[in-house]
């Protein structure tokens, strides 16, 4: 059973690519990055009323739950420990970055990612220390959503997921693939959820300054966040297409 689960993400990816959308992996020349975007960019958000509702729910959830937990996390745990936790999360993430670089046909980058995992897991004491970065192996970027994008799958409608936040249909599929291929999913539920919860709190804490910036500079936070997120995903996919 376990074995079959292991191949699930790959099977899903392949079937998605074959059925869902035109595969453009062979098409090399990426369009020149739009710096000015004089024509108003089309933003696909047919579920806006629903998304705004979830967005408001998430804001309330943050105010009541995430913010106090973040506060406790940053104030109870010393900085070096928090950095260690971040490194452990990052080390697991490097495995997926490597898998995705592999799926994108970026063998060298995948090698770099897996090299990082090897070094950080051993010399970095199970990932607590990011010694690979000090040795010049830079951390990569990417996830299943980016790989789908590189393969030519469009973002689909914008989605705001409860608690998890901003996404698109494509990136939600990517997230599903990640969850399906994450070892934590197959641990006993309490341990699995605790580890995922810890990651959530850590990631949200380390994004605090960006979130504050968005709150303090936006006129319509829903639209502002949507634009920043969609632009970021496009940039990651364009970079991945160019082999970065």
């Amino acid at each position: 059973m376990r074995l079959r689960v292991k191949y699930l993400p790959l099977a899903l990816l392949v079937s998605f690519a074959l059925l869902g959308a035109p595969v453009q992996a062979a098409k090399k020349p990426a369009p020149a990055p739009v710096t000015q975007a004089e024509p108003e960019p089309e933003i696909l958000d047919p579920f806006e009323p629903f998304n705004r509702g979830v967005f408001m729910f998430n804001e309330a959830f943050d105010a009541v739950i995430t913010t106090p937990v973040k506060f406790l996390y940053t104030n109870l745990l010393p900085e070096p420990l928090r950095r260690g936790i971040g490194n452990v999360i990052g080390n697991l993430d490097d495995v997926y970055i490597g898998v995705n670089h592999g799926l994108q046909g970026q063998g060298n980058l995948a090698g770099n990612d897996f090299g990082r995992v090897l070094i950080n897991t051993t010399l970095g004491l199970g990932g607590l220390f990011d010694v690979a970065s000090d040795m010049g192996l830079a951390k990569g970027k990417g996830d299943y959503g980016v790989t789908l994008g590189v393969w030519g799958v469009g973002p689909g409608p914008y989605l705001v997921l409860p608690v998890l936040g901003v996404s698109t249909v494509r990136d939600t599929v990517g997230r599903g693939l990640r969850i399906a291929s994450d070892p934590r999913t197959y641990l006993e539920p309490i341990t699995g959820y605790s580890l995922s919860g810890a990651e959530y709190v850590h990631v949200r804490s380390s994004n605090s300054s960006t979130e504050d910036l968005i709150s303090s500079s936006s006129l319509d936070k829903y639209r502002f966040t949507r634009s920043l997120f969609l632009q970021r995903r496009d940039a990651l996919i364009s970079a991945a297409k160019q082999g970065n």
């Binding site: 710096t35 108003e40 830079a138 632009q231 970021r232």
Partner: protein, 197 residues
């Protein structure tokens, strides 16, 4: 007396010419980055949030090198033409105020980062260029690209893209929504309300 006046006039010209230099866009970005970095580092540590000293640095080192009218125009998109000249001026002034505040929050990070200019490339046929830089320091480097135009006779920045994200494009999305619900006046009202906070 005449000498004093001549000297004053001369220094005025030198002063006014200094930020504009005949220098190219890459030099502008380089000197802007090094001046801002040096100024931020000269502040006592721990000065976070909206800080009058940071705002002063931005007013001195950044504002003269930005084309806020063009930035506002891009952020308004096709709705720019719907605004009267007075409204356009109001949008430009309120929006630049908001941007300055936003940057003063972000710029504090330059304390432990260095800006490295990577390349400059032409932005199509209109003579605009993009200067690509990287902020290096702890962690993975992040890219910051400056779009500049020479339309006014000196190079000025009209967009900044951080990791491929344009703040101006994000504002355009907001402005479009505000115009469609409350008209151009809605944009001005929202900007004023935000700035008053």
């Amino acid at each position: 007396m005449r000498n004093t006046i001549a000297f004053l006039l001369l220094s005025l010209f030198v002063g006014a010419a200094a930020p504009a230099y005949a220098a190219g866009p890459e030099d502008l970005v380089k000197s802007m980055a090094s001046e801002v970095t040096a100024s931020v580092r000269s502040l006592p540590p721990g000065s976070n949030g909206v800080n009058p000293k940071l705002t002063a640095i931005i007013e001195r080192d950044l504002v003269p090198r930005f084309d806020f009218t063009r930035i506002s125009q891009i952020a308004m998109g096709r709705n720019w033409m719907k605004a009267s000249q007075a409204e356009q001026r109001q949008i430009t002034s309120e929006f630049s105020h908001l941007l300055i505040r936003t940057y003063s929050n972000a710029i504090n990070n330059l304390r432990d980062l260095d800006v490295v200019v990577r390349s400059t490339r032409s932005n199509g046929s209109d003579g605009d260029v993009t200067v690509r830089t990287q902020m290096v320091g702890r962690g993975s480097p992040s890219s910051i690209d400056y779009s500049l135009s020479n339309a006014t006779g000196s190079w000025k920045v009209y967009d900044v893209q951080v990791e491929g994200i344009s703040l101006v494009a994000a504002y355009r999305d907001e402005f479009t929504g505000l115009v469609s619900s409350d008209g151009v006046a809605g944009v001005i009202a929202a900007l004023k309300k935000k700035n008053a906070k």
